[in-house]
C-alpha cells in the first residue's frame, strides 16, 4: 500500500480593512503554528483584493479573517466573491472578532465556514481546523 505524505494544512490569517486590533489575530496565528499548521499572517490594513491574492499566491487551504470594526458585513462577502472570481472558492473562509450573533446566519449563508466569537479557546479553533480543513491538493 502506498504511503501518502500529506502536507501540512496552510492557513492565512488576515486583518482586513482599517481595524488595527491585532491581539486576537496574532494569538490565533501563534496558536495555529504551535498546533502544527503552516501559518501566514498578512499584517494589518489588507484590502479584500490583497487578502485573496496572498491566499492564492501562498496556496493556502483556508483564510481566517479577524474583524473587530463592524465591517464584517462588507468584508466577508467581498472576500468570498473575489475567491469565486479567481476560481479559488475551494479556499475555506472562517473568522472571528466582534461579530454579533444575529449577523452570523447571513455570513454562513454567503459561505463563511465558522465564526469564532470572543472567549473561544485556542484549542477549539484548532480542533475545528483539524476536522474541517484539509490540504487542497
Amino acid at each position: 500500500m502506498e504511503e501518502r505524505m500529506e502536507r501540512k494544512v496552510r492557513i492565512l490569517i488576515a486583518k482586513p480593512g482599517l481595524d488595527g486590533h491585532d491581539r486576537g489575530a496574532k494569538v490565533i496565528a501563534r496558536g495555529f503554528r504551535d498546533a502544527g499548521f503552516e501559518v501566514i499572517y498578512t499584517g494589518l490594513h489588507q484590502t479584500p483584493e490583497q487578502i485573496v491574492s496572498a491566499a492564492i499566491q501562498e496556496d493556502v487551504d483556508a483564510i481566517g479573517l479577524s474583524i473587530l470594526s463592524g465591517a464584517h458585513d462588507y468584508i466577508f462577502p467581498e472576500v468570498i466573491e473575489l475567491l469565486k472570481k479567481k476560481g479559488a472558492e475551494d479556499i475555506a473562509v472562517f473568522g472571528g472578532g466582534i461579530i454579533p450573533e444575529e449577523d452570523i446566519p447571513a455570513l454562513t449563508q454567503c459561505g463563511v465556514k465558522a465564526i469564532f466569537t470572543p472567549g473561544t479557546p485556542i484549542e477549539e479553533a484548532v480542533k475545528w481546523v483539524r476536522e474541517n480543513i484539509k490540504p487542497r491538493k
Binding site: 490569517i13 486583518k15 480593512g17 482599517l18 481595524d19 488595527g20 486590533h21 491585532d22 491581539r23 489575530a25 496574532k26 494569538v27 496565528a29 501563534r30 496558536g31 499572517y41 498578512t42 499584517g43 494589518l44 490594513h45 484590502t47 470594526s69 463592524g70 465591517a71 464584517h72 458585513d73 462588507y74 468584508i75 466582534i98 454579533p100 450573533e101 466569537t117 470572543p118 472567549g119 479557546p121 485556542i122 484549542e123
Partner: protein, 557 residues
C-alpha cells in the same frame, strides 16, 4: 520608617506566625500553589513593616502636590476637585454623536471625549474605497470642519474641555477644533482639551499609524511647539499605556513602555530647541485600569514617582509642574466578556475604584455592552453612574491616597517601579524607544505576554468568570447598530461641502502644506488655514503620505 528593635520584634513575630502557618498548611494547603497578579507578579500571604524596611516617608511617599507626588499631584486631590468624568463617545455621524454628548452632559459627565470612526483615525474620508464597511461604526464620521461644527452644536467651547482620541491626523483635528471655537467667538487662548497625538504607541499597540516614525514625531513636536505659544490650556499629547495594556502587555510593561515613550517625546521636543519647562507641564498621560485591583493602584503610584524622577533628574526640569504626571484612565476593555455581559458592570466598578484610589485626574468607565458594540444610552448611563456613586457614596474621596502606608501596597509600588526601571534601562541601551520599536522589541514583548495570558485562560490557570468558570447561558442584549442612512447622509454632506467650498483656495492651501512639510516649517498655521476652507482630512493626509511615505505593519506575531 521603623526602629531596629521594632523590626526585630516584628521579625520574631513573623517567624512564629510562619511556624504556626506551616502546621496548618500541612493539613489544609493553600488553594493555589502560587498567588499572582494578573500580570504574574507573585504575591505573598502577608506583608509587614519588614517589606518596606528601607522606605523613607518623606523621600519616597511624601505629600500630595509635592515631589515625588506618590500620593497625588494636587495638594487637595478629590477634596478640592473630583476627577473629570469624561466618557469616550462617538457613533454614526456628527448628529448622532452631538446627541450623545448632550445626553451625557445632561446626565452629569464633566468633560467630553471623542471617539472617531476608523477612516478618520487612519486619515481617510468616508467616501474612500478604504472606508467601505467602516463608516460610522467604531466612532463618529468626521471628514471636514463642517462635521465638527455639527458635532459641537450647542456646546460652548469656553465652558467645556474635550479630549480627542486621534493620532496621525491629531494636528488636523486640533486645527478644526480651534476653528470651531473661533466661529463660536472663543479664542484659542481659552480652549482646553487634549489630543492623544501619541504615535509611538501606535507602532507598538493601537496600530492607527500612517506615516513612518520620524515624520510622525515631527508633526507631534509641531503641535507641542504651537500649543505652547498659542493654545496654552491645551494638553498637547496623551502619552498612553492603555492601548499597550489592551494589546496584552503586563502592568509593568504598560508602565515602562509608556514612560519610555514619554522620554522619547521630551527628547524630541528638546531637540527642536524647546525649553522643557515650557512644554512639559502640558504633557499628559493615559493609563488602563485593569481588574487586578492592587496591582493597578501600585502602578499608578509608581508612575507618578517615576515620572517625577525622570523629569527632575534626567531632564533637569525646574518647574514643579513639569514633574507632575497628570493622567486620564479608562477601565480595561480587554477585561470585559461577551458572556454574561452584566458582569461587566461589576468589573468596571472595581476598575474605576482602583483608578480613583490610584489618584487619576480623569476617568472613562466602559459600558457593559462594549464587547458587542458601541454602548447604548442605557448602558452608558450605568457606566457614568458608576463614577458618580463612587464619588458621592463610597467615601473613598474623603481622604487623599488612603492606601499609603499599607505594607502590601507600598511594597508592590516599589516592586513595580523597580521592574519598570529595568525595562527603561533596556530600552535606553537600545538607543531609546524609536530604536526599540524599529527592532520590534516592545511589540514582541506584548505579543509574548498576550499569548501567555491566553494559554493561562485556556488552561484555567487564570479564571474569567462566565468564560472558563461559572459558565451559564445569558439572555441576549439589545445592541446599538449603525444605520445605512447615516452613511448615505455623510457621503452626501461630503459631496456638498466639496461643491460649495472654494476649491481653488483649498488647492493652494494644500500646496502650502506640501511645501511646509517638505521644508520643515511648523505645520499648524497651515492646517488651520486649510481646514477653515473645508479641506478634507484625507486631502491633507494624502499630501503627507506623498511627502513622507507610509508606514506598513511589519506583521510580527
Amino acid at each position: 520608617m521603623f526602629k531596629e528593635d521594632q523590626l526585630k520584634k516584628i521579625g520574631e513575630g513573623k517567624r512564629k506566625w510562619t511556624e504556626d502557618l506551616s502546621k496548618i498548611l500541612s493539613e489544609t494547603p493553600e488553594r493555589l500553589p502560587r498567588f499572582t497578579t494578573i500580570s504574574d507578579l507573585e504575591i505573598k500571604g502577608l506583608y509587614t513593616p519588614e517589606d518596606i524596611e528601607g522606605l523613607d516617608y518623606s523621600k519616597d511617599i511624601g505629600f500630595p502636590g509635592i515631589y515625588p507626588f506618590t500620593r497625588g499631584i494636587q495638594p487637595s486631590m478629590y477634596r478640592g476637585r473630583l476627577w473629570t468624568m469624561r466618557m469616550f463617545s462617538g457613533l454614526g455621524g456628527p448628529e448622532e454623536t452631538n446627541k450623545r454628548f448632550h445626553y451625557l452632559l445632561a446626565h452629569g459627565e464633566t468633560g467630553l471625549s471623542i471617539a472617531f470612526h476608523y477612516p478618520t483615525l487612519m486619515g481617510y474620508d468616508s467616501d474612500s474605497p478604504m472606508s467601505r464597511g467602516e463608516v460610522g461604526k467604531c466612532g463618529v464620521a468626521i471628514d471636514t470642519l463642517k462635521d465638527m461644527e455639527i458635532l459641537f452644536e450647542g456646546i460652548p467651547l469656553d465652558k467645556v474641555t474635550t479630549s480627542m482620541t486621534i493620532n496621525p491626523p491629531a494636528s488636523i483635528l486640533l486645527a478644526m477644533y480651534i476653528v470651531v471655537a473661533e466661529k463660536q467667538g472663543v479664542s484659542k487662548k481659552d480652549i482646553g482639551g487634549t489630543i492623544q497625538n501619541d504615535m509611538l504607541k501606535e507602532f507598538i499597540a493601537q496600530k492607527t499609524f500612517m506615516l513612518p516614525p520620524k515624520p510622525s514625531l515631527k508633526i507631534i513636536v509641531d503641535t507641542i511647539e504651537y500649543c505652547t505659544k498659542e493654545v496654552p490650556r491645551w494638553n498637547t499629547i496623551s502619552i498612553s499605556g492603555y492601548h499597550i495594556r489592551e494589546a496584552g502587555a503586563t502592568a509593568v510593561q504598560e508602565l515602562a513602555f509608556t514612560l519610555a515613550d514619554g522620554i522619547a517625546y521630551v527628547e524630541a521636543a528638546m531637540e527642536r530647541g524647546l525649553n522643557v519647562d515650557d512644554f512639559a507641564p502640558r504633557l499628559s498621560f493615559f493609563f488602563d485600569s485593569h481588574i487586578d485591583f492592587f496591582e493597578e493602584i501600585a502602578k499608578f503610584r509608581a508612575a507618578r514617582r517615576m515620572w517625577a524622577k525622570i523629569m527632575r533628574e534626567r531632564f533637569l526640569a525646574k518647574n514643579p509642574r513639569s514633574w507632575m504626571l497628570r493622567f486620564h484612565t479608562q477601565t480595561a476593555g480587554c477585561s470585559l466578556t461577551a458572556q454574561q455581559p452584566y458582569n461587566n458592570v461589576v468589573r468596571t466598578a472595581y476598575e474605576a475604584l482602583a483608578a480613583v484610589l490610584g489618584g487619576t485626574q480623569s476617568l472613562h468607565t466602559n459600558s457593559l455592552d462594549e464587547t458587542y458594540a458601541i454602548p447604548t444610552e442605557e448602558a452608558v448611563t450605568i457606566a457614568l453612574r458608576t463614577q458618580q456613586i463612587l464619588a458621592e457614596e463610597t467615601g473613598v474621596v474623603n481622604t487623599i491616597d488612603p492606601l499609603a502606608g499599607s505594607y502590601f501596597v507600598e511594597a508592590l509600588t516599589n516592586r513595580i517601579e523597580e521592574q519598570a526601571w529595568e525595562y527603561i534601562k533596556k530600552i535606553d541601551e537600545m538607543g531609546g524607544m524609536v530604536a526599540a520599536i524599529e527592532r520590534g522589541y516592545p511589540q514582541a514583548e506584548i505579543a509574548e505576554s498576550a499569548y501567555k495570558y491566553q494559554k493561562q485562560i485556556d488552561s484555567g490557570e487564570k479564571v474569567l468568570v462566565g468564560v472558563n468558570k461559572y459558565v451559564t447561558d445569558h439572555p441576549p442584549i439589545t445592541i446599538w447598530r449603525m444605520k445605512p442612512e447615516i452613511e448615505e447622509r455623510q457621503l452626501k454632506r461630503l459631496r456638498q461641502v466639496k461643491e460649495t467650498r472654494n476649491s481653488q483656495k483649498v488647492k493652494e492651501l494644500l500646496q502650502k502644506i506640501r511645501e511646509a512639510s517638505q521644508n520643515g516649517e511648523n505645520l499648524m498655521p497651515h492646517l488651520i488655514n486649510a481646514v477653515r476652507e473645508y479641506a478634507t482630512i484625507q486631502e491633507i493626509c494624502d499630501v503627507w503620505r506623498e511627502v513622507f511615505g507610509r508606514y506598513s505593519d511589519p506583521g510580527y506575531f
